[in-house]
């Protein structure tokens, strides 16, 4: 048994050999590339840019809130700042971050195939992202936007700021997201290699699949909602405008029918990343594989039935409100299933506190808090008190930043050696992780306290009694900002100057690691050997290459074995 291959070429470091980065050169070779890896890298650069832009907005906001009175922003400027912070973060950063950037790079490799099903659509999706983001930027120059990222009517019909540009931008970004989801869904459905059944897929793929379902089923509704909002602005169609007998709450229903499932577009891929990180860096088979897999799908489906919990105070009937509240609680069950499975995976595992693992641990802590505080908001009586306070702000930041951003960073550190063939500096990585964790908690924990004491969100001025909390929060925001900056500098430095590493430094056994680092243009130089993605005993250390290699490839080379199909078990 065993397959004779040139192990150095197949599993070694390919910086000087053939890889996707040097397969062709020139700006055009990137702009018109159909290679999922390059598109993933372009997405990564793009979303990082969006993250920093929106992060700067956040820091400006926090600085303004340092004192109870005016520092340097007028109320109108403050409104524009938080609106653009929200809109850019949600539409241009969080939604495409893990699926489009990491997912694009990793998904086809995890399946052992050369590319996603529709490479052109993939590139088109990236350019739609660029166009949509440019429109969001354009609103900055066209008088800003002050509706909040939710574009609630009727205010969004009255304000003189750039609703049309921003709405169009979000509309285009929605299509980018739909195309990515469609591509991934078709790829996973039709291109799994023979032998990789649904329950032999890595869990990241399950979560991307669930995400794709949401992107496909929810985003078109956002599309038509924004289109109707545009029509309302331009053509006065009167559907959402109470002045014409329209119903503004209808807009909220339409909007949250997308945007609540969109919350799961943001968090599900993060959960998938964490499932990979925990298992690999604990060197233990994932606990409760099928539970984690099904919980992803359960979250995706339940996510469609809870949108009404954003409108407990908007004038829904009491019965509907109760039903939405009850379903909201059920979403907690699959989420908790995942958390307990991750904890059980770590139990008696061989945990190495690498940077990805540090991020995974912070994720569990932060997501735990974020998820549990969601229950407070799903409870009708407490929600009346907490609605539109800083409690809500802290809750969704714990999920979106503490969850998704943490998972993204963890995933980046985990797959960085694969993407660029170079190792990051573990010490700097951990420092960054610590700063992110500490800064994050310092920023948002005081906001829970403020919110429960009645500090409303979206206010530029506030009562002096809240000043101390706001000041902690502002300090924390800067620490968080520095932590993120250090992490990205660490990664960027590693991509160019880090020590070289070979194909599989973590000893992970999902298929993307059976390639050289950085991978070949065609992803795999040799047939992959299918194996259980969480059975790490299949990987053996190749002393010569200083990397892990699947044991099938470890036999001596002199035995000329004919080409065989991948192992079908």
């Amino acid at each position: 048994m065993g397959i004779a291959v040139d192990r150095t070429k197949t599993f070694g470091n390919a910086i000087d050999g053939d890889n996707y980065l040097n397969a062709s050169s020139g700006i055009k070779s990137w702009m018109f590339t159909l290679d999922h890896k390059r598109i993933g890298v372009m997405y990564l650069i793009g979303v990082t840019f969006a993250l920093f832009l929106a992060g700067i907005f956040a820091l400006v906001l926090r600085s303004e809130l340092f004192t109870a009175n005016k520092m340097f922003l007028t109320e109108a400027q403050y409104n524009q700042m938080f609106t653009l912070h929200g809109a850019v973060m949600v539409f241009a950063f969080i939604i495409p971050s893990i699926p489009a950037a990491l997912g694009n790079f990793v998904l086809p490799m995890m399946l052992g195939v050369k590319d996603v099903a529709f490479p052109r659509l993939n590139l088109c999706s990236f350019y739609l992202w660029v166009i949509g983001t440019l429109f969001l930027m354009l609103t900055l120059m066209m008088g800003g936007l002050d509706t909040g990222w939710t574009f609630y009517t009727p205010y969004s019909l009255k304000t003189n700021t750039g609703v049309i540009f921003a709405t169009f931008g979000a509309f285009v970004l929605g299509f980018s997201s739909i195309f990515t989801g469609l591509n991934f869904l078709v790829t996973i459905n039709t291109m799994r290699p023979p032998g990789m059944t649904w329950f032999k897929m890595p869990l990241f793929l399950w979560s991307l699949y669930a995400t794709s379902i949401i992107q496909i089923l929810a985003t078109p509704v956002l599309g038509i909602t924004l289109l109707l909002l545009l029509a309302e602005r331009i053509m006065q169609i009167g559907i959402f405008n109470p002045a014409y007998g329209g119903d503004p709450v209808l807009f909220q229903h339409f909007f949250w029918f997308y945007s609540h499932p969109a919350v799961y577009i943001m968090i599900l891929p993060g959960m998938g990343v964490i499932s990979e990180l925990i298992s690999v860096h604990s060197r233990k088979k994932i606990f409760g594989y099928s539970f984690i897999a099904f919980s992803s799908v359960a979250i995706a489906l339940l996510g469609f039935l809870v949108w009404g919990h954003h409108m407990f105070t908007s004038g829904q009937s009491a019965l509907v409100t109760i039903i939405f509240s009850a379903i909201t609680f059920t979403v907690a069950v699959p989420s908790a299933v995942k958390v307990f499975n991750w904890l059980a995976t770590m139990y008696k595992g061989c945990i190495s506190l690498t940077t990805p693992m540090c991020y995974a641990l912070s994720f569990i802590f932060l997501f735990g808090i974020g998820g549990l505080t969601g229950l407070f908001l799903g409870t009708l009586s407490t929600d009346i008190h907490l609605h539109d306070t800083y409690f809500v702000v802290a809750h969704f930041h714990f999920v979106m930043v503490g969850g998704t951003l943490t998972a993204l960073l963890g995933g980046l550190f985990h797959w960085w050696p694969k993407m660029f063939g170079r190792m990051y500096n573990e010490f700097v990585g951990r420092i960054g992780c610590f700063l992110v964790f500490a800064g994050f908690n310092l920023t948002f924990f005081p906001q829970f306290v403020m919110g429960s004491r009645g500090m409303p969100r979206r206010y530029a001025r506030y009562d002096p009694e809240f000043e101390i909390f706001h000041q902690w929060s502002t300090f924390g925001a800067f620490v968080l900002g520095i932590g993120i900056l250090i992490s990205f500098v660490c990664l960027a430095y590693a991509a160019f100057k880090g020590p070289r590493c070979a194909g599989n430094p973590w000893g992970a056994s999902s298929l993307e690691w059976q390639s050289s680092s950085p991978p070949d243009f065609h992803n795999f130089v040799h047939n992959v050997a299918l194996c259980d993605p969480y059975d790490f005993s299949t990987q053996e250390l190749d002393e010569e290459l200083d990397t892990f290699v699947h044991r099938e490839f470890m036999e001596p080379e002199e035995k000329p074995v004919p080409e065989v199909e991948p192992q079908h078990t």
């Binding site: 790829t187 038509i224 029509a231 053509m235 002045a243």
Partner: protein, 417 residues
Amino acid sequence: MAHDDHGKEHAPFIAHHFDDEQQQFDAGKLGIWVFLVTEVLFFSGLFCAYVLYRYSQPEIFVEASEFLDKVLGGINTIVLLFSSLTMAVAVRAAQLNQRKVLIYNLMITMVCAAIFLGVKAVEYSHKWDEGILTRGYYNFHHPDHGEGLHISKYLYMLSVIPAILLVVFTAGGVVFKVTNEAKKSLFFFGLALMMGGYFLGAVGGKIYMEAKTKATAAAHEGDGHDESHDHSHDEKDGHGDDKGHASLESRWTPVVYRQEKTKQDGSKQDGSKQDKTKQDDSKSADDNKSKQPESAGKGSGEKSDDKKDESKKDDTKKDDAKADAGKESGAPGDTASVTEEERQRRVGIFFSIYYCMTGLHAIHVIAGMIALSWLLWRAIHGHFRPDYFGPVDYVGLYWHLVDLIWIYLFPLLYLIN
């Protein structure tokens, strides 16, 4: 899989990342179906709005739908259904390698799509002429045509781009004919034919509209028989322009309004009482209700009158609710006392939905025409063969969906009553 797996010869039409044609076809098929799901969901928001507003104000939808011409809508339905047939034949032809059949059927499908748009342009321009616009801009007035052929300036505007394209495509066809590039020439003539379809639809629709207007006028002259005919206008028995105008007016006033108008003319008292009720903003809905039986009692007891009163009652209640909102944003129409004009404006909500639905559908038709043109180009160049006809199949599915959406829109919008 790894590329040495692909030592076997890849047919040129199989993308490098697929194992074989079957996998490629399956991926494309699943992809287009998923895309169609997103399309359905995209329209679902509009259907949702339609259901909500029709449920809350059914009488307005019944009234408004009378503005729509069932015959033109019906013609468009038939045209689209026929194009679905030719599309299906085209798919079959691609599978059987009948290149000519494929090309001709694609062309017919494209022409049908263009005819659809041409008729649509006539319908739209006619409405714009009369100020039948969306809710905020709704300003219905009787078109002030003189005698003779009247072509709306909007129809000219809508036809500018098709006209330019027609010229360009024809010129392209001729140029390539001269340079003996038969395939390109055929392609461009196909496109020109498609644009010709637009003008066929537009001219046909226009002729029908003219004939209809004349027929209505004639019917009035001969003391009408039409079921929607309104006898109240027959008092205007003058001749010449005056009569023409009257007949147009009755033609373009939906039946319920006409009844109201009759009523108001007939019993001014009743109308003024209604107005009083509306003028008093502080009057509660209960007050209105108590007045209603009176006014209903005063009515002649005919069915139509009851119906009218009901709709009035609804409107009155809504006015009270909306008065503040209306004032705040300076909405057109004085809400303190709702005029006949303002009541008509309510019809605008129907046309808001009408324009959104049919407009979005028309955009899909245009997208379909572009996709079909791409197919035509590839078909002419002989890209399709029995083991590679995926794109024809996918565009076909898309085209059937576009057709299907219209099959839903037609009864929902045109055939309410």
